[in-house]
């Protein structure tokens, strides 16, 4: 009882829960699920952009993209490490992903069909991720909050890079402009859907708010994202594919068309354009690497054995 009271007190005081502290089982489970899903998203999220590394149209862009995809692997690593402080191992989490028992963000189940998609992912998808994640830097669980600070810093760098790609295309040849607009047309609604179902349909939200894992509702975050994008799209000279988008003076915000939540549910349930391929790719990489990981373990064990022998 004391422990529970202390936990609530810490959370209410906007202080951090640390790994050694007592915490409710449901809090632990919720965090593990959320951090793991976030880590998996970073790892699976390498694929759509990784698809363009070999074809990047200049050496500078190739270097920037390669570094970005590498950062995503790095984010995956910090986040798995944050989850590990909750008493589950990275190997277990990876297995849950491979078995399809934990999810990753549905946005990565859409294909990257042109170079402009790399820009659109940076601008819209990373942009949406930042809007979602900035509040998590104040999450009540210390290791997650600290991981998110680092992730958000890099994400905002990525977002600027994506914006810059689109800016260059939007001010380039007619073919490049068309490519940029086409990418925005395809990524806009999937990006809006990243904030999850409308508040009325969202589960877990109230409890997560109380625990200070979540701080704003899905719809609030989505609105913040829309308002931010409208302004930037103007500078880019690209059109947001929503005929009903307009400023609402009363709300002091933009009215916009909701994404197709039935489609979102389809994609979440496994029926997006690339779900099967993303998972097959990850499983194949994992399986192909088995012999290598086994060799590294065997080598390490031999070395440990030798050291003991020398010591003895």
């Amino acid at each position: 009882e004391d422990l529970a009271a202390y936990f609530t007190e810490v959370v209410d005081a906007e202080q951090k829960i640390e790994p050694r502290d007592w915490m409710p089982d449901a809090y632990r489970r919720t965090l593990i699920r959320q951090i793991a899903q976030h880590a998996h998203s970073e790892i699976i999220g390498m694929q759509p952009e990784g698809n363009w590394i070999s074809r990047a149209p200049s050496l500078k862009r190739k270097a920037i993209l390669l570094a970005k995809v590498q950062d995503e692997a790095g984010h995956g690593l910090y986040l798995y490490a944050a989850a590990e402080t909750l008493g589950i191992s990275r190997d277990e989490l990876v297995q849950l992903l491979l078995d399809g028992r934990q999810k990753y963000s549905s946005i990565f189940n859409y294909p990257t069909l042109s170079w402009a998609d790399v820009g659109a992912i940076g601008w819209l998808v990373d942009g949406a991720a930042i809007v979602n994640q900035v509040p998590l830097c104040r999450c009540s669980y210390g290791p997650y909050a600290r991981a998110m600070i680092r992730v958000c810093k890099e994400e905002s760098f990525h977002q600027r890079q994506g914006y810059e790609i689109l800016h260059t295309l939007a001010h380039g040849t007619p073919a490049q402009q068309a490519m940029a607009q086409d990418a925005v047309d395809r990524w806009w609604y999937p990006s809006l859907a990243m904030f999850g179902p409308p508040d009325g349909d969202s589960t877990h939200s109230a409890q997560s708010m109380a625990w200070k894992i979540k701080r704003f509702s899905n719809d609030d975050l989505r609105q913040r994202f829309v308002d931010m994008c409208v302004q930037q799209a103007g500078i880019l000279g690209l059109r947001i594919p929503d005929e009903d988008l307009r400023w609402n003076d009363e709300r002091q915000a933009y009215d916009y068309t909701q994404p197709d939540y039935d489609e979102l549910m389809q994609v979440i349930s496994g029926n997006g354009p690339c779900n099967r391929e993303r998972m097959a790719h990850r499983r194949a990489a994992h399986a192909d690497g088995n012999w290598v990981r086994e060799a590294a373990a065997a080598y390490a064990a031999k070395r440990a054995g030798q050291k003991e022998t020398v010591a003895a």
């Binding site: 149209p57 200049s58 050496l59 590498q70 290598v292 086994e294 060799a295 590294a296 080598y299």
Partner: protein
């Protein structure tokens, strides 16, 4: 190769094609840490390629920048050694290529760091530090795989046997070059021999020494690599990215 332009171009092409192959591992490596490590090495190679190709373009004085050289030459105009264009195949083959390449690039860049051409000397000084890391990383995996499991030993030995013949081309004598590659063969041998021995691997003694890369006569693989690498750039002539 002869003269600073050909030499610089050849080194730049080695680095560029090596970067392209290494980057193919992204999202596919056996461990997440290794995904990051291979991307790092690819980024180092790409960085060196950009410096070398930019400088080659200046030496040529024909108005070609790094992208013109990377994206607008066909395979017969590339001057990389065959070793770097070979397919990645399994992880052991990739590590054999990485290890041998680093064991060549490290002494070459080190010698370059002391050469009379200031630009090349600066590039060499930067790149040799990176090569030292690449060599450590490659050597560590050669040892892990060579002295790991039976399966990994078998694969690593097969990889060394497959890649070894392509190392000879790296050291073809070129007395007119800023650094004659033939002069770094000893340093290569002194690094490679002990690592292979520690890895319980046999150093091949095959006399076969395929070559041609420095003259633009490549394997059938390079044209496919370039088709993919160049497709977007070539589809939009004159565009800025």
């Amino acid at each position: 190769m002869n003269g600073p332009f050909d030499f610089t171009l050849a080194l730049g092409d080695d680095a560029l094609i090596a970067a392209q192959r290494l980057a193919e591992w992204t999202t596919r490596a056996p461990e997440m840490e290794e995904d990051i490590a291979l991307a790092n090495i690819a980024l180092d190679q790409l960085g060196a390629a950009r410096l070398l190709l930019s400088y080659a373009g200046e030496l040529e004085s024909a108005g070609r920048d790094e992208d013109a050289l990377a994206y607008l030459r066909d395979d017969r105009e590339f001057r990389n050694a065959l070793l770097v264009e070979l397919p990645n195949d399994d992880f052991a083959v990739t590590m054999a290529k990485l290890f041998f390449l680093a064991a060549y690039q490290l002494p070459l860049y080190s010698a370059l760091a002391g050469c009379a051409d200031e630009r090349l000397a600066a590039i060499g000084a930067k790149a040799r530090k990176e090569s030292a890391y690449h060599l450590d990383h490659g050597a560590l995996w050669v040892k892990r795989l060579g002295d790991g499991t039976e399966e990994s030993h078998r694969r690593m030995q097969a990889a060394v046997d497959q890649v070894w013949p392509y190392t000879h081309e790296l050291f073809a004598a070129d007395p007119a070059a800023p650094v004659d590659p033939a002069t770094v063969r000893t340093a290569f041998d002194e690094v490679v021999g002990p690592v292979l021995a520690e890895a319980t691997l046999t150093q091949p003694d095959s006399a076969w020494a395929p070559a041609g890369g420095r003259a633009g006569v490549h394997t059938e693989h390079l044209a496919f690599l370039l088709a993919e690498m160049q497709v977007l750039h070539r589809a939009h002539p004159g565009a800025k990215w």
